[in-house]
């Protein structure tokens, strides 16, 4: 009975996994078809050609080269922009939110609870309300179409402050009290004692920020204008509406190029995601 149930579970799970993974497998295979090939039917989805009457596997890896260097779009620039913006954002978020969480949990000052409530409250402001005024504020700062516009609005996050605060509270207070009695400065305690102990939580924040920034579409679309300031995600939508057109193999190759780095980070850091989601739900 038990074996039967386990077998059933595996069958169900495999079917579900196939349903979830099939589009990705299809994407990879289509990206290897010759450029401008029509959309293949399911029997012909594996790229092949005839050689002496036999079907042989015929992948067109040159599609990737074409997308990266010969598509008429500065794809390497998109990639560099995305890497630079994401790296800066992750570093700034880690620094600013961990400092705030340290202040909110380790230090006493008037209005601390009010500050915390404001962070908490701001998490309820939803995207559509903020998009217009943030755009106008960034415009009046003269930052539109620059790295400032892409980085600064995302340089801190109430959600991450909240997440880190939940974690910092669990770190025993004796540790920093002892250091304080020994005359250590607050910055030293924060940098040398608390941050090393908070590594798992910081990794969660870094992982979340990485994915959110790398895959952000709406804000870079609004905040940038010139082709050379676009990120990969916006670049992909430009590509679809220009060179990619109805060229499905090229579109899929571009899609793979955008997705591979995020997937790699996710597979490498997946346990931090799981922890972050659970921390975020225990309010």
């Amino acid at each position: 009975m038990k074996l039967f149930r386990a077998l059933g579970s595996y069958l169900l799970l495999s079917a579900l996994a196939a349903f979830l993974a099939a589009p990705f497998v299809w994407m990879l295979l289509v990206s290897l078809h010759p450029s401008k090939a029509p959309i293949p039917t399911i029997e012909r989805v594996v790229p092949t050609r005839f050689e002496e009457g036999h079907k042989v596997f015929d992948p067109h890896f040159e599609n990737y080269k074409t997308v990266l260097f010969d598509s008429g779009l500065p794809v390497p620039i998109f990639l560099l922009n995305t890497v630079f913006v994401t790296a800066c954002t992750v570093c700034l978020v880690l620094l600013f939110t961990s400092m705030a969480a340290y202040g909110l949990t380790r230090l006493r000052f008037a209005g601390r609870e009010t500050f915390f409530r404001m962070f908490w409250l701001s998490m309820m402001f939803v995207g559509p309300v903020l998009q217009i005024p943030v755009y106008l504020i960034v415009r009046s700062l003269g930052w539109l179409d620059s790295y400032y516009a892409l980085i600064v609005p995302g340089a801190s996050s109430a959600f991450c402050v909240f997440l880190l605060r939940q974690f910092f509270i669990q770190i025993p207070f004796d540790i920093d009290e002892a250091a304080r009695l020994d005359g250590a400065s607050e910055f030293r305690i924060y940098w040398k004692l608390i941050l090393p102990l908070a590594k798992p939580a910081l990794a969660t924040v870094a992982a979340f920020t990485f994915i959110a920034t790398w895959t952000d579409f709406f804000w870079p679309l609004l905040a940038t204008n010139s082709l050379y300031m676009r990120t990969l995600e916006v670049g992909l939508s430009v590509f679809k509406n220009s060179y990619g057109g109805n060229n499905w193999p090229m579109q899929m190759a571009a899609t793979v190029i955008v997705m591979v780095p995020v997937l790699a980070v996710f597979l490498y850091a997946q346990r931090y995601f799981v922890r972050g989601i659970i921390l975020g739900s225990t309010k």
Binding site: I39, M123, V126, I132, I137, F217, I278, K283
Partner: protein
Amino acid sequence: MKKSWAGYLFLAPAALHLFVFALLPIGYALFLSVFKWDVLKPNKPFIGAKNYVDTLTDSAFWNAMWNSTKFALVSVPAGLAVALFVAVLVTQRLRGMAFFRTVFYIPAVSSGVAISILWIYIYLPTSGLIASLIQMLNAGIAKANQLLHISLSLLPTDIDFLNDKAWALWALAFMSIWTGLGPRMVLFSAGLLGIPRPLYEAAELDGASRWQCFKQITLPMLTPTTFFVLITSTIGAFQLFTPVYMMTQGNPEDSTRVIGYHIYEEAWSRFHVGLASAQSFVLMVPLFFIALMQERFMRRRLEGFSIQ
């Protein structure tokens, strides 16, 4: 005294950011919403509540709100049910569950634009992935008809899901079940693992069936998790944007014009910034109410824990 300024110093960057990019914008949006603020026109006259009156009497706005409501009413319960089912499966004590958890999470971390392009193909008539699968199914049905001398009708393969008014919104909802599965599954898994095992053992001794255990123990014990997932998913559903922008642009016949996309167009295609601000505040009222309910509920739950 010394500690006091250190606290402000540590908080300063995040607090300044919060002020400039969250609190100030809310005030700014409120300010914009009482002006006839058009990006292209130099004079922006004060018009009081007119934008709000226009919003509340605008049938296009209510059509978009209704589309978002329909989308949420279908995609949220269905997404929750699928995620709970998957979570029950992957929290079993079996080998290889970590592998399945990873596979199920991948769509949630993939880029929204890439996913949208992928699903345009999946929904293409005749040559798309779904149409291909239906064709294979039809071949099977035809064979069965021939062998058994029956006449089952074949399924249509030419449905243009994204350009058919009857299908487009549901096609987007179906896709969102797929993309939203990962985080929901993780949350339900955590909730399931938090239920004390002795509860099940006691129920089994009393001869309860698995379905009874699920109904009498799992579901009630999961209520806090379910509530949390329900609220965050609902708020997320009302903010749907990227798939609509990439796949349908609100077409056909405005059937997929959801509120997030409608506000975007009002502000950035028609340049009615004041009106769009008013619209986003009208949208925020129910969302804020939902979020507040969540906070109340969570606080009560925390207090419940501290009493124990």
